[in-house]
Symmetry: C2
Subunit: 167 residues, 2 copies
DNA sequence: ATAAACTTTCAATAATTATTGAAAGTTTAA
DNA sequence: TTAAACTTTCAATAATTATTGAAAGTTTAT
């Protein structure tokens, strides 16, 4: 496998993985491209490399900036805008975990709390609903907390020693 | 909010959350319905409650069984098949984490390993590709390990004390 | 062996989501 | 102030994914 094959494989794999972290294919591919680039890329560069339209590139770059993963780079003397992504994987993971928690997990926790707080009318089905949604609420909250805590540790040794601990 | 409102809210929220754990809406809704039901439900029951077709119900129940989340229940004297879901949230989380890891994370780890193992031809771009995909490989592998380890702890106190530790 | 009761399959269709491309908008240089 | 260089917006369209429903398949009771 040479450089170009490897690059294509990485970008497309990372793209199809997008669904795993809740973003679309183009968005994930743009991020992947920037992630392995040695220098900032222009919209033109990205469109050409991924063979996607200008509009698509623009919209997805904006979303990546909203997530806080990609930033604009001004290159003196250049008219075009250039883009870079966060290059540190730990920091990338931190941002993604935080955003997903905020956008998706928190709202679910809220609903689970609401649902599990309905008045117990004494019927079996109500008791079951309360019991099960409460369990789900606790689990979701704990998992969310843990992921955020783990991912917020700046130093990698923490992750490593933690892993050793629970083996 | 009464029982029925709460039930509808829970089922639809859990359904739209499906994307978070990589399954479709109907599948997640069926699971949600079974999760709060006090007794096994027939295909008829599910179709009626969620207002979805027989075919859809059949296909999604089969997928849930493939995941190992739902099981067939034979009720003596009854011709119909009945279904139940795993009721313990810890066990449910264990199954889901394991399946997602197997279906989605492992293949990605494999590709990252391949890509990061290409021959270093000395160019800057190749060095960057290797460096970045290697970092991603290590992170993904560590995260996958941790999630599996955490979720495999049967006793909840482990999770709790672990959480306290990393606070 | 037959038929009723039930489940599965899958081609057709509907719903959703992503992408295009060109017009409108913005910024900069002269 | 003008126009070139660039970016954004968004209605139309394409691609993908989910759903239906009816025919085919299976099981069970008689």
């Amino acid at each position: 496998m040479n450089y170009n094959e490897a690059k294509i494989k990485f970008v497309s794999t990372w793209g199809s993985l997008g669904s795993l972290w809740g973003i679309n294919k183009a968005m994930a591919q743009i991020q992947a491209l920037l992630f392995i680039s040695t220098k900032p890329l222009s919209m033109e560069d990205i469109m050409e490399d991924l063979k996607i339209s200008r509009g698509n590139t623009s919209m997805n770059l904006r979303q990546l900036m909203d997530w806080g993963i990609v930033t604009k780079e001004i290159i003196p003397g250049e008219r075009k805008e250039y883009f870079t992504t966060e290059k540190d994987v730990q920091e990338l993971a931190r941002i993604i975990a935080k955003e997903r928690s905020r956008r998706e997990i928190q709202p679910v926790i809220k609903v689970l709390k609401e649902v599990s707080s309905i008045k117990d009318d004494g019927t079996e089905k109500t008791k079951e609903l309360i019991k099960q949604t409460k369990a789900l609420h606790d689990l979701t909250e704990t998992a969310d907390d843990m992921i955020n805590k783990i991912v917020n540790q700046k130093q990698n040794w923490v992750t490593k020693s933690l892993l050793k601990l629970i083996k």
